[in-house]
């Protein structure tokens, strides 16, 4: 089974945009109130930015690059590979969002939770970035 490149990009983009907007809004609200990080908001943003912004940036850049293309997205992609990429994407953005949503339920300061999360988030990020590269980098060149 296969899926078109265009369709697969759109579905992956939806997952990543939602996974980016929800934590972004939470962190923005926490920064606005200023009572969660107690003056260390910059550290929180320093953790947030490299964990999600490069991937979103890649997706947006790919869409921007192909914005005026017509008919170029009918290339077929293996459904299996797409599902693997989708599962990894859902896993990564799900964990990333849960790190914020579970903050009130932990007994650690938020910044310490972020640091600990980087230990396993980095592993998944490596895998998902490799898989996304096929959809957004390799095929964007054509």
């Amino acid at each position: 089974m296969t899926i078109t490149l265009k369709r697969s990009r759109v579905l992956l983009a939806i997952v990543w945009v939602i996974g980016f907007i929800v934590p972004l809004l939470i962190l923005a609200a926490q920064t606005y109130f200023g009572t969660v990080y107690h003056g260390k908001e910059a550290e929180a943003w320093s953790w947030f930015t490299p964990n999600i912004v490069p991937t979103i940036g890649l997706i947006v850049a790919t869409f921007a690059a192909t914005a005026f293309e017509t008919g170029g997205g009918h290339k077929k992609v293996s459904m299996t590979f797409f599902l693997v990429t989708m599962i990894l994407s859902l896993l990564y953005v799900g964990i990333f969002t849960l790190i914020f949503l579970l903050e009130p339920l932990t007994n650690s300061p938020p910044l310490e939770t972020f640091k600990r999360s980087s230990l396993f988030l980095g592993i998944i990020q490596g895998l998902v970035t490799t898989a996304l590269g096929v959809f957004f980098i390799k095929n964007a060149k054509r």
Binding site: F33, F100, L105, T106, S108, P109
Partner: protein, 261 residues
């Protein structure tokens, strides 16, 4: 020579005139009269001497109790009406007051408390307790610990913690019973959270009988002192609050209801 032999000896001195005799007798009489008067004066004074001042009876000693930091410096305080503490009939002693306070504390879920001495009275101190924003005690799993209670997921407290942050609130309630005049907290002794955490354990488990048998009079006053502490973040220290976030009555909501009955 014979004239000298035959000469009669010198004639004796002339006898003093009679008035001298009378003067001597009069002096002797005056002397004895004066002696008598002086004696009578001494006797009369010793007979009507006021009794010695009684040794003032000291206030029943609370020396067996450890001392509570006094004067206090609490976050909030309020007076407990005496009608909640006094017996309907007969004399009320400090022991009766203590029993009434203990009963109200137990029914309010305060199972651990201890006694300390304050000038001319006693203090009954509860354990350091975590409480919610509205003054109610935290859930039982976190009530007696300093670990900040986690809210139920997706509850109002959860969303508040997510966007505003987590705050730990703690308090110690002290009932100070004394007939000493009103104290000012200007120079009061502060209690930090480490001390507060040990107060309910390091005090006495009961009121000494000597102090407990003292009558609770109209001059006595029971003051509820609230020592409030706050931890604004999980990695920040727990600090004493100079001014409580709630009125003392809000802190006592679980206890006053049982005192009023």
């Amino acid at each position: 020579m014979f004239d000298q032999l035959t000469k009669s000896p010198e004639s004796p001195p002339p006898a003093p005139p009679r008035r001298w005799k009378y003067l001597v007798i009069g002096a002797i009489v005056v002397f004895f009269i004066g002696l008598g008067l002086i004696s009578m004066m001494f006797l009369s004074l010793s007979g009507s001497a006021p009794p010695p001042l009684p040794t003032p009876t000291p206030y029943p000693t609370s020396g067996q109790l450890p001392e509570f930091p006094w004067p206090p410096r609490s976050s909030a305080f309020t007076k407990i009406p005496s009608r909640y503490l006094m017996n309907a009939n007969g004399v009320t002693t400090l022991k009766d007051v203590a029993a009434r306070l203990e009963n109200a504390l137990k029914r309010g879920g305060y199972g651990q408390f201890s006694y300390y001495s304050v000038p001319r009275g006693f203090a009954l101190v509860t354990r350091l307790e975590q409480f919610k924003r509205n003054g109610e005690p935290a859930d039982e799993a976190h009530r007696w610990t300093q670990q900040i209670a986690t809210p139920p997921i997706f509850s109002i407290d959860y969303w508040a913690s997510l966007f505003i942050g987590t705050t730990g609130r703690y308090r110690v309630i002290v009932f100070a019973v004394s007939d000493e005049d009103f104290f000012s907290q200007t120079t009061g002794k502060r209690v930090d959270v480490e001390q507060a955490d040990k107060l309910a354990i390091e005090g006495a488990n009961r009121l000494p009988d000597v102090l407990g048998s003292t009558p609770y009079t109209d001059r006595h006053l029971c003051t509820a002192l609230i020592y409030e502490f706050e931890k604004t973040a999980l990695d920040s220290p727990t600090e004493f609050k100079e001014n409580g976030s709630l009125l003392a009555e809000a802190h006592l909501q679980k206890i006053l209801a049982y005192l009023e009955k």
